[in-house]
Symmetry: C2
Subunit: 359 residues, 2 copies
C-alpha cells in the first residue's frame, strides 16, 4: 500500500493510500488506548455509505465513538455550523484526549479540521477523504477553515492531521460531476509542478475517465507527493512557495462567490480559473497560445466546464480584491511560464485581468 | 522601563511594562511599514478612555487604523461576536499584513486573540491589557479563546502575541472591584510559585490597596516573569506544568458557569476557588490549617469574596466534570503542598471535593 510521508518535524504524518482500507482508521486514532474517544464528523451524503465501515472497527477495539452528521454542501462550512459542532462535542464529553475524524469531502475536512483545531485549543484529527478533490488536495497540508458570507476560507488555521487514510475504492461511487471536479485539481499539479505527470494524464484519458483503480492509485499518490513537497517547504504559506497551489484560485473564488457557492463545484471553478490564469499568462507574454490550448484540451477531455459564469465583470474584479490572497490591495496571480512551472506575479493591471475572463 | 522577555524560539516576544507608555504601540505594529494596517479591538468601557492615546501615534506614522468596539462584558466572548468581528475585519479589508491590537481586559484579549489566530488563518497581534487581571495573567502566554454556552474557554487556540504593552498607570482608573479581582491572580502566583513574593504581598498590603505605582510595577513585572517561566517550559499545556496556573480554576469555572457568568468577576471566582483548593489540599493531608489560614488572611486583606456562591452543590460537581481540564471523565486538581509549590493531583474523590466547598 503506497504511503506518502509528509515531513513537518514534530507535525509529520503519513498518507496511506489503498484499495478497501477504509476500515483501518484505528492506527491513527489510538483506538486501543484507555478512554479512547473518536468524534467522527461526516455529512448526510457519506453517512449512509461509509460511516459504519470506519466506526465499527474502532468500537470493536473499545473506542467510544460519536458520529456527528452535518448537511452535505458548501453552506455547512459556516461559523454557525462550527458553533453547532463545538456545542455537540461538548455535550458528547469531548476533551483533549479525543480524536476528531473527518470522513467526507473537502467541506467536511475543512470544517471538521477547523473544529478540531479550535475545540479545547486543539485536538488531534484524522482525515479520511472520500472525494477525489479531498484525496488529492484538501485533506493534505493542514489548511482548515470555514467561509464567511463575504469570502471563502476567510477564517481558519494551519492544523496538521495525525494521518490521512485514503481508500481510492470509494471514488467508484462518486457522482460523475464530483469526480470530474476533482480531476481539475489533478491537472493543476501537472501544470504547476510536473510536466511528466501532465503528459501521463494526456496519455491516459480513457482509464482516468473510466476510474481504473491502478490509475487512480497512481494519480492520488503522485498528487499527494507533489502537494507534500510544497507543504514541507512552506507549511504556513509564508515564503510564497505554497501559494503556487492556488493556481486558478483567485479567479475561482470570485466565480464561487459571485454565483453564491451553488452553481459551481470548487473543482469546476478551478478549471475555469486555470483557463483564465493561462490566458492572463499568455497576455503577459509568459506562455504561448499552444500552452493555453494544451491545458484546454486536457481539461475538456475530462469534461470540465471552461466558460466563465455569466455574472457582472466588475463584480468579479471586486470579489478578487476581497480575496484573502490580496496583500493590502494588491492582487497577485500564480501564472505558468512553461508546463510544470509557475511564478507568483504581482501588480497585474485590472484591464489584463478583465481581458483574461474571455475565452 | 522593565521588560520581561518570553523565550519561545520563533514565537518569542517582549512584555514592556511602564508608566504612561500607552502611546508606544507602534513598535509592535510595524506602523511605519508601507500599507501598515492595525485593527484595534476594544470594548465599550475602554473605548472612551484610551483608544485615541493608542491609535493617534499609529495614524501619525501613516498606519491605517480601524477600531472595532465590542460591548463590555463576558457575554461578548462568544462565537456570535467572533463571527461579527471576522465579518467586520473582512469589510475593513484586513488581510495577512494586518495587525490586530487587543486593547482592554481579559475578555477583549481572549476574543481579539482568537479572532487574530483564525482570521486569514492567523494574523499578528499585540496585547495592550488595561486591567490588572489581564496585565498579570491573560495577556501573557498565548491562550486565546471564546466561551460556549456550556463551558468557558472551550474553544480557542495557542496564539502568541508579537508583544505586550503594559501601562500600569491605567490601573488608577480601574473600578475597585475589578482591581481586587486582579489581585486574586497576583496572590495565586505567590502560592503556586514564589513564597518570597507571597511574603512581599503580605508586607505591602496597604501600598497594594492604595495602588502605589512603584508597587504596581513590581507586582506586574514579577507576575509576568513567573508566568513566562511556566509558559516557556510548557507552551501548549502538554507536560502538565502549565496547568499549575489553573490553581483554583476548576472550582472557579464551575462557580462562573453556575452563576451565569454574571454574579462573579473571574478573579473573584479564582479567590473563592483558591480557598476551596486549599481546603481540599488540607483534607488530603497536603497542607496544614495554618497554610489555609495564611492564604485566607491575604485574600481577605485584598477584600476579595471567599464564600462559595449559593448554588446547588450537585450542579457544581457536574459542571466541574464538564470542564476542559477533565481527561476522559477524571477530575484533576492543582493543590499546594507548601507555600510557593503546587502539584497536580488526579482521582480526587467527589466527597472530598464537595466537602472542600464549605469554609
Amino acid at each position: 500500500m503506497p504511503t506518502v510521508h509528509v515531513n513537518l518535524g514534530p507535525r509529520s504524518y503519513d498518507i496511506e493510500i489503498g484499495n478497501g482500507n477504509l476500515a483501518e482508521a484505528a492506527k491513527f486514532c489510538d483506538a486501543e488506548a484507555d478512554d479512547a474517544h473518536a468524534v467522527v464528523i461526516t455529512d448526510s451524503n457519506v453517512d449512509g455509505l461509509y460511516t459504519e465501515t470506519v466506526t465499527d472497527p474502532l468500537a470493536d477495539l473499545g473506542c467510544e465513538v460519536d458520529i456527528l452528521v452535518i448537511e452535505a454542501g458548501e453552506q455547512s462550512k459556516s461559523s454557525d455550523v462550527a458553533a453547532e459542532l463545538w456545542e455537540r462535542m461538548l455535550d458528547e464529553g469531548a476533551d483533549r484526549k479525543s480524536v476528531v475524524v473527518a470522513l467526507g469531502g473537502g467541506v467536511v475536512g475543512d470544517l471538521a479540521g477547523f473544529v478540531a483545531a479550535t475545540f479545547g485549543r486543539g485536538l488531534r484529527f484524522v482525515q479520511i477523504p472520500t472525494t477525489l478533490l479531498a484525496q488529492v488536495d484538501s485533506s493534505v497540508g493542514g489548511k482548515v477553515g470555514i467561509n464567511l458570507p463575504g469570502g471563502k476560507n476567510m477564517v481558519g488555521a494551519f492544523w496538521q492531521p495525525r494521518g490521512v487514510l485514503i481508500d481510492v475504492d470509494v471514488l467508484q461511487s462518486l457522482p460523475d460531476r464530483e469526480y470530474r471536479a476533482g480531476l481539475a485539481e489533478v491537472v493543476k499539479y501537472g501544470v504547476i509542478q510536473d510536466a511528466d505527470f501532465f503528459a501521463y494524464l494526456e496519455a491516459n484519458i480513457e482509464p482516468v475517465n473510466d476510474r481504473e483503480p491502478s490509475v487512480l492509485t497512481r494519480i492520488v499518490e503522485r498528487c499527494c507527493r507533489l502537494k507534500a513537497d510544497v507543504v514541507e517547504q512552506d507549511e504556513r504559506e509564508e515564503t510564497g512557495l505554497r501559494s503556487i497551489l492556488n493556481y486558478g484560485h483567485t479567479f475561482c473564488h470570485a466565480f464561487e462567490a459571485a454565483t453564491g457557492y451553488e452553481q459551481l463545484l470548487h473543482g469546476e471553478g478551478v478549471a475555469i480559473g486555470m483557463m483564465c490564469a493561462a490566458r492572463l499568462s499568455e497576455r503577459l507574454g509568459r506562455v504561448d497560445a499552444a500552452f493555453v490550448e494544451r491545458q484546454r484540451v486536457l481539461l475538456e477531455a475530462f469534461r470540465l466546464p471552461l466558460d466563465v459564469p455569466d455574472v457582472d465583470r466588475d463584480e468579479l474584479i471586486e470579489l478578487m480584491y476581497r480575496d484573502k490572497k490580496v496583500e493590502r490591495g494588491k492582487l497577485r496571480f500564480v501564472l505558468p511560464t512553461r508546463m510544470g512551472h509557475v511564478e507568483l506575479v504581482r501588480d497585474v493591471a485590472t484591464d489584463d485581468i478583465v481581458a483574461s475572463l474571455h475565452g
